[in-house]
């Protein structure tokens, strides 16, 4: 980490190979490979380029939410209104299209809706800093879903398949690579660079590890929170676009429970909800682990209920195992014994 001037500003020691091997990301990679081996055993057609992309497309539209959710969790915040934001943006898009607006403008409306939803969250949180994000986004979750229900009732707003290029956003591909995958890679790389290579990213970690200190060192904590929540809204709208392209119609009850799935993926990726910890690549690998696991289990007709149990168990185990420091446990026991003897 030596600078060009020769002055060393390294605070963290360079990691030894042992530490690199036992990082959370490498464990995730191993799990990822295991999942893939399992899938390949289940279906012989799985390990081919089209097979892999089919598997990827089955979950990738949700993954767009994971990218900004990682930022939010790094800051030590949480956003559980994302599912409702997706629903609301999709509903507004479909309604405006059916009202005669051209598709391009409808997509803009969708993006705008999502951004405004996110901005509302960010604004409220920045104005009332005492309020925990959990409860604010819980309220806006109900409100956004409510607005979607008010606008559309229990109807569906369909007909989106009439625009061929719009359906192509999800179903089409450039060679073997689906458009959605390309968009995802671009955005993921962008977010990765944003989090790990820019000052903005360092600010996120600073806010997450100690908000008060960050405030006193001159970081505009509330401004950054507002920006990140707004960004989350925009990404929700992107998810809404792909989801609508996939289904060809929208209802007010789509995307229920996306917030929990997104949070699970981020947490499995090693980013703690307490903030300031974890690295972005972990979250990306976790997306694919959960996605492929679901796809593979779906192939062998494992019911969705068993899948719930497996994914829940994976989440709890993944978070708990590294915390259980066996060496320390043993040491504690030994000291305890010694103390007892000395008594």
């Amino acid at each position: 980490m030596a600078g060009k001037s020769g002055r060393s500003i390294a605070i963290t020691k360079p990691r030894s190979w042992k530490q690199t091997l036992f990082t959370w990301e490498s464990i995730l990679v191993i799990i990822f490979i295991l999942v893939n081996i399992m899938n390949a055993c289940i279906s012989p057609k799985y390990l081919s380029v089209p097979g892999l992309f089919t598997a990827t497309s089955s979950f990738l539209e949700k993954a767009f939410i994971v990218l900004p959710m990682a930022c939010i969790l790094i800051m030590g915040d949480i956003d559980i209104s994302v599912g409702s934001t997706v629903a609301l943006s999709a509903v507004f898009m479909a309604m405006s299209y059916n009202a005669g607006v051209p598709m391009g403008v409808a997509i803009l409306i969708c993006l705008l809706t999502g951004t405004v939803c996110g901005f509302m969250n960010g604004m409220i949180l920045a104005r009332f800093t005492e309020l925990p994000p959990m409860i604010v986004t819980l309220a806006t979750q109900i409100i956004y879903r409510g607005i979607a229900e008010i606008s559309l009732g229990d109807q569906a707003s369909g007909g989106l398949t009439k625009v061929a290029w719009f359906s192509n956003l999800y179903w089409g591909s450039l060679g073997p690579v689906p458009y959605m995958f390309i968009v995802f890679v671009i955005l993921a790389v962008f977010m990765g660079l944003l989090i790990h290579k820019t000052t903005f990213g360092r600010y996120l970690y600073a806010i997450g590890s100690n908000r008060v200190t960050a405030q006193y060192s001159g970081i505009g904590v509330q401004r950054i929170r507002c920006i990140v929540f707004t960004m989350t809204g925009t990404f929700c709208a992107i998810t809404a676009i792909f989801l609508a392209a996939r289904m060809g119609s929208t209802r007010s009850n789509i995307a229920v429970g996306y917030e929990m799935e997104a949070i699970s993926m981020v947490v499995l990726g090693g980013i703690s909800t307490a903030g300031g910890k974890g690295r972005f690549p972990g979250a990306i690998i976790a997306i694919f682990i959960i996605g492929f696991l679901r796809y593979g289990l779906g192939l062998i007709n494992v019911s969705s209920q068993v899948m719930l149990v497996i994914i829940g168990g994976l989440l709890v185990l993944a978070v708990m195992l590294p915390k259980l420091n066996f060496k320390e446990l043993l040491k504690n026991q030994n000291t305890f014994r010694k103390e007892r003897k000395s008594l």
């Binding site: 949480i78 409220i124 009332f128 005492e130 309020l131 925990p132 959990m134 409860i135 604010v136 819980l138 309220a139 806006t140 979750q141 109900i142 409100i143 956004y144 879903r145 409510g146 607005i147 229900e149 008010i150 009732g153 229990d154 929990m260 949070i263 699970s264 947490v267 703690s272 909800t273 307490a274 019911s303 209920q305 068993v306 899948m307 719930l308 149990v309 497996i310 994914i311 829940g312 168990g313 989440l315 709890v316 978070v319 708990m320 915390k323 259980l324």
Partner: protein, 333 residues
């Protein structure tokens, strides 16, 4: 001087501001629909929301520790489903025994969650997020994705929610149980050592540990109590709706958390009272019951509910700010 101070304290307190909001809300609804403030409607409302109100108590304990439990809906479903299945297969026919079984199932679920959080050092939101999925999945698996329908549940069980046998005809059973829970919790949080320990751990865990409180044990206890209450609520739910489905009480956790927060329980721990929780869950019940009464279409209900929650929470912050400012003023004198 002394008296003046008391009035100020009273008007500035969270509970008082909540009472004012409730009165205004009730007056408005009463104005729109004169049938609202009648004994039948109120008893109906309390009966239907007894489950939420009971769960809010357990959630208060969890929130007081600075934790959160979003697995309660699933725990409720699992314990209620276990009881209903035993009943369907004719293994258990006694209502009381069935309820005890449901409570035990809930207690075990809560103990597992508590152990993972206290001894596994997993953050509460993550652990309960995981167990939300696990318990929900087990519920479906145990029932083989089937319902337990009304005719498979004993008549005695179905009658339990509608009759008032516990108080010999005075008050509906569900409301009685709910009130007993509230009184028990009030006494426990207010006058016993355990209650004070919960507050102590919630407001400053390090200080609590130094003063000899076993934090992990308190954590385990709080989540176990939450689980047991879920079990009780599961039994009541099955009795009230006379059926048991795999997806019952889905999303209930959000209502319960909202009730607590409206009641002034802080999510960062250490702050909140049983009376506040009672008023908060009463607000949720009134909103849920009254909106259809004043002729609001069901599609508007979620939107309005959300706005009211948000408004209540923001109002809470504003009163807190005023209170803090007043406190500072008092110190200046």
């Amino acid at each position: 001087m002394n008296k003046k101070f008391d009035i100020k304290k009273l008007t500035g307190s969270r509970e008082m501001s909540l009472v004012v909001v409730l009165v205004i809300l009730c007056a408005f609804i009463q104005f729109r629909n004169p049938g609202f403030l009648s004994a039948k409607v109120i008893i109906d409302m309390l009966k239907n929301y007894a489950v939420t109100m009971i769960l809010a108590l357990g959630m208060m304990g969890v929130l007081l520790l600075g934790g959160i439990d979003i697995s309660i809906g699933s725990t409720l479903a699992l314990s209620g489903m276990c009881m209903a299945l035993l009943m369907r297969d004719g293994i258990v026919t006694n209502t009381f025994l069935a309820m005890v079984i449901s409570v035990i199932v809930g207690l075990v679920c809560g103990l597992v969650v508590g152990a993972i959080i206290a001894y596994g050092k997993v953050l509460p939101i993550i652990a309960t997020l995981g167990f939300m999925n696990i318990y929900r999945g087990i519920t479906y698996l145990a029932a083989k994705s089937q319902w337990v329908a009304a005719y498979q549940i004993t008549t005695e069980m179905k009658q339990f929610a509608q009759s008032s046998s516990l108080t010999f005809g005075l008050l509906n059973n569900l409301i009685t149980i709910m009130l007993v829970c509230y009184i028990l919790f009030y006494v426990m949080m207010r006058f016993t050592r355990i209650g004070r320990k919960v507050y102590a751990v919630g407001s400053n865990p390090e200080a609590a540990e130094v003063s000899g409180i076993k934090i992990n044990r308190i954590k385990l206890m709080v989540y176990a109590v939450m689980g047991a209450l879920c079990g009780l609520a599961g039994a009541l739910w099955v009795s009230l709706y006379a059926s048991s489905q795999g997806d019952m009480a889905k999303g209930l956790e959000m209502d319960v958390i909202a009730a607590c927060v409206i009641g002034g329980v802080s999510l960062s721990g250490g702050r909140g009272s049983v009376i506040g929780v009672f008023l908060g869950s009463l607000t949720i019940a009134i909103i849920g019951k009254a909106l259809p009464l004043i002729g609001i279409s069901q599609f508007w209900q979620n939107g309005i509910k959300g706005v009211i929650i948000l408004a209540a929470v923001i109002l809470n912050v504003l009163t807190q700010r005023v209170m803090d400012r007043n406190n500072l003023k008092g110190r200046e004198m």
